[in-house]
Amino acid sequence: MKISKTNKREENIEMANKEKDENILEVRNLNKDYKGFKLKDINLTLPKGMIMGLIGENGAGKTTTIKSILNLTKVDSGEVKIFGLNIKEDEKKIKEDIGVVLDDSFFSEHLTAEDINQIMKNIYENWDENLFNKYLVEFKLPLKQESKEFSSGMKMKLKIAIALSHYPKLLVLDEPTSGLDPVARSEILDIFQDFIKDGDSSILVSSHITSDLEHIADYITFIDEGKILLSKTRDELMDNYGIVRCSKEQFEKIDKNDYEKYKVNKYEYDVLVADKKQFKKKYDFKVIDKPTLDDIMVIYIKGEK
């Protein structure tokens, strides 16, 4: 009996360690109150080899969440673990293995890619000059031109080249596709998908261009007014959620507990349901539309319960 108990405990520890090893990022109960804005009980788990998309309108708290995760801003409470280590205790060690792209912060535009290479050689232990140059060639970025001459797409590619050139295990990207044309966006999304191919690397990416995340994200986390409204796998969202478009009379027959939120349009009601199969069984609606992330976001934010 004793032996079996010991074995069970060892099994549990092994499982816990395995789980810890499987998760690249764990955020627990993150809270921050800053200049009238609150981040409330943020909880996230990002497993290895996965991409998590943070969605939400401008000012919802995506950037603050990312900056809190990276310890760039002080939090009031909560814990962030990256690679199983606490960001506050092992910040330098963790940051050696993270590649970061920030929307609102970068090097001076007076620096060239060549300058940046000289700087970064001294910053990251694993900085690979050849890999950086390879990315510059691949992204068609000039070596000796100041980045102020670059287009938005070129600037973003430069940021991404920097983020990738020290073999990071985690990429943290804040709005990496904003302001880019569809071709540049598609190229950048391909780079991200290549990055996680090895199965050991992960990406946390925020974007208000939800269609980008529909293509690449495995998990979707929706933030609004500093709170996580939902965090699910993309498939769970895309397969289970649905939009019922109905008249006022039809809407009034729906039980409040059977939908998430509804939005009144000019001629109809858009009702967001979390389990369309169950809903179909209970109500007589033949067509339930598959929502886009945009639809879900808009109804959650603008809709009523």
Binding site: Y34, I98, L102, S105, S108
Partner: protein, 225 residues
């Protein structure tokens, strides 16, 4: 140490568009010195202005980081806030010292070139002037850097004047109080007694000023969001 080197390199590389301005600034003061007759005052002017100019050149790196809002990005690298502040101080101090050295070198050259007889200038005097120049500039920088960390490079300059004015007013106030109370400070006697120790005293005081300023700046930067 590599990280500090990388940060200093970043500042130097982003200041490259300023190099031309610095060279023109240096040439103007050297030419102004070369055409003057009285050599002593000119030596002081050249050394002081170049020390000040080089120091301010390094201070301009604040502007570039501020424009690019580079702080968050830099802090996403494996480095600490302390290293960022330290690198900035090392750059400013080195630039100030180099400015003084360049000033001394040009004073020697001007003396040798413009004097009808080849007379080597008094090196001790030039060294004392350089130390005095660095000391004077260190006071400005020691106030300006924490102001830049607290309020940003642009606003920091305005606050520099406010803080400097407050210090001068306090000094005048203390002197007035001392005079009204008939207290006699034996300043000249103290200076005489210090004699050749004065440069060493100034060097120690300059180091202390920079160190105190660095501690202030770090504290401000550490608490900054």
């Amino acid at each position: 140490m590599n990280i500090i080197k990388g940060l200093i390199l970043k500042d130097l590389l982003q200041l490259k568009s300023y190099w031309k301005t610095l060279i023109i600034y240096t040439v103007i003061f050297i030419l102004a010195g070369a055409v003057q007759e009285t050599e002593k005052g000119i030596n002081v002017m050249i050394i002081f202005m170049l020390t000040f100019g080089f120091g301010m050149f390094a201070m301009a790196s604040f502007n570039y980081d501020e424009q690019a809002k580079a702080d968050s990005y830099l802090l996403s690298f494996p480095l600490s806030k302390e290293q960022i502040v330290l690198a900035r101080y090392i750059l400013v101090i080195l630039a100030t010292i180099i400015g003084a050295i360049v000033g001394v070198i040009f004073c020697i050259v001007i003396n040798l070139v413009t004097n009808s007889q080849v007379v080597f200038p008094d090196m001790t005097e030039l060294a004392y002037t350089a130390i005095g120049g660095i000391f004077g500039v260190s006071i400005v920088e020691a106030i300006q850097i924490p102001c830049a960390y607290k309020w940003g490079a642009e606003k920091g300059r305005i606050y520099l004047f406010i803080v400097a004015a407050a210090i001068i007013l306090m000094g005048i106030g203390l002197l007035t109080i001392a005079q009204n109370s008939n207290l006699n400070f034996p300043i000249s006697e103290i200076a005489y007694l210090m004699g050749s120790f004065l440069p060493i005293f100034l060097i120690v005081l300059t180091a202390l000023i920079y160190y105190t300023s660095y501690k202030f700046s770090y504290k401000i930067y550490e608490n900054k969001e």
